[in-house]
């Protein structure tokens, strides 16, 4: 059960209950829809890009606690970042939850996102944690729809 408490940490439960930037973004100039056909999770990520920078970001949709909290914290993490920085964070986040990157040992910029490290012990939940990131990545690159399958 200790793995369970590492997965469902208080911060994650809090973001699930009160997701940040959880709304449609009227000023968005990029949008992508992320979809996990396995479980039916679906979310939209909105980006307001100014030149190369994420000026504002928001999301809406439905999903489990892991996917919702991850989306919520993703929006906080990429706001204000350049495209390259956001892509770099996605890369590190993905490597962390798949066990390729040790967030405590290896150099990274993950910061508070490290609380998702516990996901690596739940391989079937990796897609939940990364759905919003894949979707953000798709929006950055002007792909309207992304599926985790």
């Amino acid at each position: 059960m200790s793995e369970l408490s590492e997965l469902y940490q208080q911060v994650i439960l809090d973001h699930n209950k009160k997701p940040r930037n959880f709304h449609k973004l009227e000023t968005a100039n990029r949008r992508a829809e992320g979809y996990n056909p396995l479980c039916g999770d679906q979310l939209n990520v909105y980006l307001d890009m100014e030149d190369d920078q994420v000026k504002d970001v928001a999301f809406e949709g439905s999903g489990c606690a892991i996917s919702k909290a991850s989306a919520s914290m993703m929006t906080q993490a990429v706001k204000g970042k350049t495209k390259a920085e956001a892509e770099q964070l996605f890369n590190e986040f993905h490597r962390m939850v798949t066990g390729e990157l040790d967030a405590e040992e290896d150099p990274n910029n993950l910061g508070r996102l490290k609380i998702f490290a516990g996901v690596r012990d739940f391989p079937v939940r990796v897609k939940c944690a990364t759905l919003s990131w894949h979707t953000m990545h798709a929006a950055l690159n002007n792909q309207p729809i992304v599926s985790t399958e």
Partner: protein, 432 residues
């Protein structure tokens, strides 16, 4: 030996009938003894005894079936129908013997009406290709229901798209019961097929298919029944139902994956196009013309899943020995107990509250996504399904993204239901 086995089975059936089972099914059902027949159940998962409540997805396999498969692989393995040698004849006898058991299991008129397929999905696709593509055309209508598994939606959509036919859907009420008046209103002279599930995999609803089949027949419309969830849990009599097709999967009824059956009335099967072309489904082949084999071989191109289908035959033997009616009564009792236990937990809402239900208990918890429920239950050794259960339109109907689903078999216990209830309390505790 085969004869002896048959006699034993008949004896078992007679003995079962003598047991007064109506009064207190749980008392006469020795579940602990039954559980010993299923080796997989004795393991621990995440340090807890496995509580397997995902039977609607795949059920577990008893020793009798495992040993039959093993015996085939060790002593009889060979290709069927085409060898004059000893092993091929042994394999053919075992394979066709399994078909004979299927025939009795569903009370088909003839053995040749039982076509071996990979599972219910392939069975439905066989009917779509063999019957639908030949007899359904532009402007025709196919009726399905609002509670179908994707396996009984998508093939018909594909057909409608190809032919310009129209898919009509019988709606359901908030309890998860089909609206039969609406069904009657949908039937008309354009209707060419009705394809409905016997038991909903997402809700557990048992549909009143006998009457629905009667209604369709008044318009001369054939009816396909998706029996994936009913065949493992209730006695099936295709002659009494008078259904035209009935498809089910072996892996949901205590047999290996890759086994399954689609029953069809011989008169229809004979008029249909073959499904796949290849070896074993022909009488003769020249480059100018191929003459197809008679039933059932016409629909069984290539080498089938011989070991799996023989396993299905053994699973049928097993069900006959333990007593299907008795098992069904026990499962009914268990579902009632589980419904009562889960209803008593604040924040739990049961999805699917039809009067006639079987084996499936879908539920949601306020503000907890079913995936999180599934993970937390798994950590406590409890296997449930979390998701849309390949029935996305059902989820949409109830305006939920997914459910958690506990589905029972005759080897589950009330104690396991108590563990489920305790684990759900734990979920609620984690999410505060």
């Amino acid at each position: 030996m085969k004869r002896g086995q048959g006699a034993d089975l008949r004896m078992a059936t007679i003995v079962e009938q003598l047991v007064p089972i109506k009064a207190k099914p749980a008392d006469v059902w020795d579940v602990e003894r039954i559980r010993k027949d299923f080796p997989v159940l004795s393991q621990t998962v995440n340090g807890q005894p496995l509580v397997y409540l995902d039977n609607a997805a795949s059920s577990q396999v008893p020793v009798m079936v495992i040993e039959r498969g093993s015996q085939y692989l060790q002593q009889e393995h060979s290709n069927i129908h085409r060898g004059v040698h000893y092993l091929s004849m042994k394999a053919t006898t075992a394979y066709e013997g399994a078909r004979e058991k299927v025939k009795r299991f569903i009370n088909a008129r003839e053995v040749k009406e039982c076509i071996f397929v990979r599972g219910a999905t392939e069975g439905i696709n066989l009917v779509m290709h063999g019957y639908g593509r030949k007899f359904i055309g532009a402007g025709d209508e196919i009726i399905i229901s609002a509670m179908e598994h994707h396996a009984n939606i998508v093939p018909w959509q594909m057909l409608c798209e190809e032919k310009g036919a129209r898919l009509r859907v019988i709606p359901m009420n908030d309890a998860g019961e089909l609206l039969l008046d609406e069904y009657d209103a949908l039937l008309n002279e354009k209707t060419k097929l009705v394809a409905i599930t016997h038991v909903s995999n997402a809700l557990g609803t048992v549909n009143p298919i006998k009457g629905m089949i009667d209604s369709a027949h008044k318009y001369g419309v054939p009816v396909l029944i998706d029996g994936a969830q009913s065949a493992p849990h209730m006695p099936i009599d295709v002659q009494d139902l008078d259904c035209d097709f009935y498809a089910f999967s072996g892996h949901k009824m205590f047999a290996p994956t890759g086994s399954g059956v689609v029953y069809g009335k011989a008169s229809l099967l004979e008029r249909m196009n073959p499904f796949q072309g290849g070896g074993d489904m022909i009488k003769s082949v020249t480059f100018e013309k191929t003459i197809y084999a008679d039933l059932p071989n016409k629909f069984e191109a290539g080498t089938p899943a011989i070991a799996s289908q023989i396993g299905l035959g053994a699973a049928i033997d097993y069900l006959n020995i333990i007593g299907r009616e008795k098992a069904a009564l026990y499962e009914h009792d268990l579902l009632a107990y589980a419904t009562e236990r889960l209803s008593g937990i604040e924040g739990v809402r049961i999805i699917g509250t039809a009067r006639e239900k079987l084996s499936v208990l879908s539920f949601v918890i306020d503000s907890v996504h079913p995936h999180d429920i599934g993970t937390i239950l798994d950590q406590q050794g409890i296997a449930v399904r979390a998701g849309h259960h390949c029935a996305q339109p059902v989820m949409k109907r109830f305006n939920i993204p997914a459910t958690a689903r506990a589905s029972f078999a005759f080897y589950n216990t009330k104690q396991e239901v108590d563990q489920l209830a305790a684990a759900i309390e734990k979920v609620i505790e984690v999410f505060g």
